[in-house]
């Protein structure tokens, strides 16, 4: 079993301060990889009676059999828990160098439970793992604390995953951060880490990750690395990507408003180019990644900032201010405090929207006038949310609780799915609507089928051309129609689930339609790395087993068809310039029916006994049945 996998799972009981090891084999071959085994542990050990903040909740870090190997973009760690933000399956995926280092230290997973009576951090140095006092770093921001830990352990190669003040304060938008620019962002895993009094996990490993067929594996990786990938060009030229999104009408502005504000048209691209020319130092990456989606900027008055992907948009388009230095500073602030970029910018945009509508005044926000584009108000609110100071306290439980506390009709403007704030995208395209509605952890940009609508750019033809070349299986599902969208969404969900399980980055999977690592390539990579014969069909079954277990977990927490919906505004309003018409509720329901049928769930969204037994999950069927009888 030691090929591909490091071979061991570390179990840390923070209440007792004890650390145990168990073989990863215990969970294979039933479940595969980071997300797979995380899901299984969560199902087994966290029942509906467990409150997210109780010591009984698990915080599970999982790497896959490809993490830390030569497989392209093999940097990923999946972090799973019961989310304090949504109360259901909480899951996030982190890049950087932490996951590979964990593998080199000899562990595939870390399962954390209990609650320490004082702040501690976990130090894993190859075989040895110990809990150390963290009182001196409690309260420090993520960058400062990382530096102190690295100095203390006197090794710059130690990789640290940690929480900032937001996580310590149990703000549900708290992240688990790693290096500058890398974090496990959504669903509030950082708040769980904070509730357990665990400040950080520092890892250093110098052991082997063995490969069953090294020569074959190396050549396969070379082939995948050297396959031309249109996405690399697009993501590096982030300007073109954003321009594309802007023109496609896919962005949402302010508080999920499809109408762009004037500066978006006139200044966005020009100012971004100017910013890059002035401050860009170099491209930078996670472990073993050919994409290099991140870039380092050194800005004299701010310092070093790493920006990638969504960092280029959220604070700009949400708070309606096109100023890239402000954006860099806001990004650095959320990273230092350990706050989720999406949730935090959504929360601030929500306040600005309420202020504009006259629902709140400066009296509700400690004297700060929450006007669109006011950068000082943004900085101040980030700090207040992270520290739970003054009006920041209302967001400690997420946007739904904040809206309830404000009252006065604010609920109507709190846009979320299952309690998780929307990313800055409209959900009018049918594939996005379905993807967002059924996603396992609440509305998340990364888990709904982004690509095809992403590429719509006024041209479904362009998407079709890519699909013809890369994903012929779903070519007939492209376009504005509702038919076939269930199949399209399930296709991308499988891809994403497998990437998260194997430990490679989704950006190289077909999630963006044209990544070089399709499911055939994944099967070959995992087979040559582990020496187990795993083909494409088996992978597909693995992903279905994971998806169905997660669904059963969510059903156990009370999610059914009723929860699988998106804010009603998308049924009411078309998108910008009517590029995407308003959604048809009947047809939307039809898509849900199709999706449940395809997944083998009943019309209420509950996995059927038949499907569960097919997937070897009889014990889940029994559990669900027993609970429904009580």
């Amino acid at each position: 079993m030691t090929n591909g996998w490091a071979g061991k799972i570390l179990r840390v009981n923070l209440t007792k301060g004890t650390i145990k090891k168990e073989p990863t084999e215990k969970y294979f071959p039933e479940f595969l990889g980071g997300k797979g085994i995380n899901t299984k542990v969560l199902w087994d050990e966290v029942g509906p009676e467990v409150d997210p903040f109780s010591p009984e909740n698990r915080l599970i870090f999982g790497t896959g059999p490809l993490t830390g190997t030569l497989a392209p973009a093999s940097s990923r760690t999946n972090i799973t828990t019961k989310s304090p933000q949504t109360g259901i399956f909480g899951d996030t995926n982190m890049g950087g160098h932490w996951g590979p280092e964990l593998k080199f230290s000899g562990y595939d997973h870390i399962v954390i439970y209990g609650q320490s009576d004082r702040p501690v951090y976990l130090w894993i140095n190859n075989e040895t793992a110990e809990l150390r006092d963290a009182r001196h770093i409690w309260g420090k921001d993520t960058q400062e604390a990382t530096k102190i830990i690295n100095d203390e352990l006197s090794d710059p190669k130690v990789q640290v995953a940690l929480i900032g003040p937001a996580g310590e304060n149990k703000v549900v938008a708290a992240t688990i951060n790693h290096r500058l620019g890398d974090n496990g962002g959504r669903t509030g895993t950082g708040a769980i880490m904070g509730s357990k009094n665990l400040k950080a996990i520092a890892v250093r490993g110098t052991g082997d990750v063995n490969i069953a067929k090294p020569t074959e594996f190396t050549e396969l990786c070379y082939k995948l690395l050297s396959t031309p990938n249109p996405y690399i060009e697009i993501i590096r030229g982030i300007m073109e990507a954003n321009d594309l999104l802007y023109k496609s009408g896919g962005f949402a502005y302010g508080n999920i408003d499809p109408m762009p504000f004037p500066e978006m048209e006139t200044d966005y691209i020009r100012l971004m180019e100017e910013f890059c020319r002035k401050y860009k130092m170099k491209d930078t990456t996670c472990f073993n990644c050919p994409i290099a989606c991140k870039a380092l900027f050194t800005i004299p008055e701010i310092g070093d900032v790493i920006l990638k992907c969504e960092d280029w948009m959220n604070f700009l388009v949400r708070c309606k201010k096109i100023d890239f230095v402000y954006n860099a500073k806001a990004n650095l602030l959320v990273q230092k405090y350990g706050l989720d970029l999406f949730s935090t910018s959504a929360n601030i945009a929500f306040l600005m929207d309420l202020f504009e509508k006259g629902i709140i005044t400066e009296e509700d926000t400690d004297g700060i006038r929450m006007e669109w584009g006011d950068v000082k108000a943004v900085y101040a609110m980030i700090e207040k949310i992270a520290r739970r100071e003054g009006c920041g306290e209302i967001f400690a439980g997420g946007i739904t609780k904040a809206a309830q506390k404000i009252g006065r009709g604010a609920e109507k403007y709190a846009y979320h799915v299952k309690g998780l704030e929307l990313p800055n995208y409209i959900l009018n395209p049918p594939a996005w609507a379905l993807g967002a509605a059924v996603t396992e952890r609440g509305c998340l940009f990364r888990s709904f089928a982004a690509s095809l609508a992403f590429m719509t750019t006024a041209t479904y033809e362009k998407a079709s051309a890519y699909a013809k070349q890369y994903t012929p299986d779903i070519i007939d599902t492209i376009g504005p129609k509702y038919e076939g969208k269930a199949r399209q969404v399930a296709f991308f969900e499988r891809d994403v689930c497998l990437a998260d399980s194997l430990g490679i980055c989704r950006w190289l999977s077909q999630w963006q339609l044209y990544g070089p690592i399709d499911q055939d390539a994944m099967a070959k990579l995992v087979s040559t790395a582990t020496g187990k014969n795993i083909d494409k069909n088996m992978l597909s079954e693995y992903s279905d087993r994971i998806a169905t277990t997660i669904r059963a977990f969510n059903v156990r927490e009370g999610i059914t068809r009723k929860g699988d919906t998106i804010p009603e505004k998308f049924f009411r309003e078309p998108s910008f310039k009517n590029m995407y018409p308003k959604l048809d509720p009947k047809k939307f329901d039809g898509m849900l029916d199709d999706y449940y049928q395809l997944r083998g769930w009943d019309q209420n969204g509950v996995p059927t006994r038949k499907r569960l037994e097919e997937l070897g999950l009889k014990y889940i069927a029994d559990d669900l049945e027993k609970r429904s009888q009580n």
């Binding site: 830390g68 190997t69 110098t206 690395l225 130092m281 491209d283 930078t284 073993n288």
Partner: protein, 163 residues
């Protein structure tokens, strides 16, 4: 005087710090993925990454070769690379200290010294580097670049990289 057939050079501005070179080096040499056993190592400071590797010193004798008490380091006649004979090496670490470029380390599994051997002239790191930051080129061409690139390393560590 020993002549190198070709020289491994670095374009420091291009390195993104992905560490593909470390992984592939260990995979082709010892059959596992383990950067700690690699002959090339990325050192990172303040988000700036610099790969460190053996420059195969062309002095009549290199420092590592000079200091090795067991004569475990010899030249490959084809490439000019300095090669460590693992069967002779005891892992005493004298060469690690002697190398002015910190390009030798101790393999934590086999407990022997490990450094770049230029892969018999087909350097895997060069082949796999997704950024084109590493090149294996003719000496004349390399000499034109080297000074500038070593300067590049120095200035990178001071964060004075030209934009």
């Amino acid at each position: 005087m020993i002549k190198l057939a070709k020289i491994l050079v670095l374009n420091p501005k291009e390195c993104s710090g992905c560490r593909t070179c470390e992984v592939v080096c260990s995979l082709v040499h010892v059959g596992t993925c383990n950067p700690a056993r690699s002959g090339i190592n990325i050192w990172e400071k303040d988000s700036i990454d610099v790969p460190i590797f053996c420059l195969q010193c062309e002095e009549p004798r290199a420092y590592c070769q000079d200091i090795c008490p067991l004569n475990a380091i010899s030249r490959n006649q084809d490439t000019g690379a300095l090669i460590i004979d693992k069967s002779k090496c005891t892992g005493c670490s004298l060469c690690v200290g002697a190398c002015p470029y910190k390009a030798i380390s101790i393999d934590p599994v086999q407990k022997v010294a490990v450094k770049c051997d230029l892969c018999k002239g087909d350097a895997a790191c060069v082949r796999f580097c997704p950024e084109g930051a590493l090149e294996y080129i003719e000496p004349d061409e390399a000499r034109k670049k080297t000074t500038r690139q070593i300067m590049g390393i120095v200035s990178l560590s001071n964060k004075e990289v030209s934009r």
